[in-house]
């Protein structure tokens, strides 16, 4: 049965890929697949097909954050639909709509502010000094800010502040 694709936000390339998904379920049958091992609530077919493609509210489903981005569904999909890319798209939607997992929002904010994904702490300084490694300081910030302003990421982050 053809699936009604209601996710209007999908870009054209993704939309074409979505249309060839036959709901065969092979992404869920590979040994050690994510719904068996990672979390019993998560299943790429349900999250991807029903939540991502057939709903306008997929980004609000907390299960998208149970996808570990391991790409096993991509490796096993016989039609190169690549469920992971739809789930990652939903995560991006989550940031725009201020419903993303707070950790990822904090990491991206950190990248734009310092050029590093993690905070630079005195513990890092001490460890590096003990290993005779050069100290760290914020890097490439001016360039990153220019990029983020030009692409709109800076605005998205500002609007997504809790």
């Amino acid at each position: 049965m053809a699936l009604a694709i209601r996710a209007q936000y999908l870009e054209e390339g993704r939309r074409r890929a979505a249309e060839i998904c036959l709901k065969c379920g092979v992404c869920c049958t590979v040994a050690h697949s994510c719904h068996v091992m990672y979390d019993h609530q998560f299943n790429p077919r349900y999250t991807f097909v029903y939540d991502c493609l057939a709903s306008e509210k997929g980004a609000a489903n907390p299960n998208i954050w149970l996808c570990v981005s391991c790409h096993k569904c991509e490796e096993t999909c016989p039609y190169e639909v690549s469920p992971i890319h739809f789930i990652e798209h939903l995560k991006g939607e989550g940031l725009t709509r201020n419903i993303a997992h707070p950790t990822i929002r904090a990491e991206v904010t950190q990248v734009v502010a310092t050029g590093y994904a993690f905070p630079l702490t005195s513990a890092t300084d001490r460890q590096r000094q003990g290993l005779n490694l050069a100290p760290l300081s914020p890097r490439a910030v001016a360039d990153i800010v220019k990029i983020a302003e030009k692409t709109g990421l800076a605005t998205r982050l500002k609007e997504a502040q809790p």
Partner: protein, 295 residues
């Protein structure tokens, strides 16, 4: 064999002992490491959010810095490799997208040209240095050390971009471990994710269950330790194991070592020089074995 060393974030900030080992052993195998000014986060967290165009622009900026130095990039991290190789391949093959990204980069003074390659250190060691040279550099063979190899997800998939190994049946890291005289064990759940992403952005209980299943499989295979080539995997198997053990009441430990640490030991460096002392998960039996092998 000069390379621009792309450190990323995780290793210099949270695991600098791995950076120190890399700077020690890679040059000894003829891999000269250069530190160009200006690299930033690769940026995996941005790419993970599928802000594709920002991620591509930031990755292109990093690659352009290596291009300006006339050097290929060597990384120490699966995530950085995944992000930079994806961007490099995408932009090399799509002139319109390259033009758009270079438009975004214009004010930074950098331009992506597509003239260099990005490789993980394991790709450099396996594909460029070669197993023969590594075998000949071994002074203290790690004979009898049973190692569960965990290459991690993002060095494997998608294979046409990463070009490292079969994602569903990876063997390259096993070959690299065997070259050190150690014994790679055949273990169940080898290709499962370490759970780092689940720990940070998903559900810690699920991550702990996943980690427990992997560690149990390593123990069933009688592994002395695991070997990893990714800082997120390392952190999960080390600090993550310590934290999960409290929740799940593990009655065993499976220490983890970065491949570069095992390489350092096999090349004749001391345990102190391999920087293994600071690891969270320690097993006296492994320490005794490594002490004996490197004496």
């Amino acid at each position: 064999m000069r390379h621009a060393l792309f450190l990323g974030c995780f290793i210099p900030v949270r695991l600098p002992h791995i950076e120190a080992v890399a700077r020690r052993v890679l040059p000894e195998l003829g891999v000269e490491l250069v530190d160009p000014e200006g690299f930033s986060c690769c940026p995996e967290p941005v790419g993970f959010l599928t802000d594709r165009i920002t991620a591509l622009a930031m990755a292109a900026r990093n690659i352009s810095i290596a291009e300006e130095a006339g050097l290929d990039i060597i990384t120490l991290c699966n995530g950085c490799t995944y992000t930079l190789r994806q961007a490099n391949q995408t932009l090399k093959g799509d002139p319109a997208l390259r033009e758009r990204v270079n438009g975004i980069l214009a004010e930074t003074g950098h331009t992506f040209k597509g003239t260099v390659e990005v490789r993980h250190f394991a790709q450099v060691l396996h594909g460029q240095v070669g197993m023969e040279k590594i075998r000949s550099a071994v002074r203290k063979p790690l004979t009898g050390l049973r190692v569960a190899c965990h290459p991690g997800c993002h060095i494997l998939s998608p294979p046409d971009v990463m070009g490292f190994d079969d994602p569903l049946d990876p063997v390259v890291l096993d070959e690299m471990i065997a070259a050190l005289g150690a014994e790679p064990v055949d273990w169940d759940r080898k290709t499962l994710c370490c759970g780092w992403t689940l720990t940070n952005y998903g559900d810690k209980e699920s991550a702990n269950r996943l980690l427990g299943a992997k560690l149990e499989a390593m123990r069933a295979a009688k592994a002395d330790c695991s070997a990893v080539i990714c800082p997120q995997c390392f952190y999960q198997f080390d600090t993550g194991q310590m934290l999960a053990a409290r929740e799940l009441k593990f009655d065993y430990k499976v220490p983890t070592l970065y491949y570069l640490q095992l390489l350092a030991l096999a090349m004749g460096h001391s345990v102190e020089e391999a920087n293994t002392r600071g690891h969270r998960v320690k097993d006296p039996a492994l320490e005794e074995k490594l002490g004996r092998l490197t004496a």
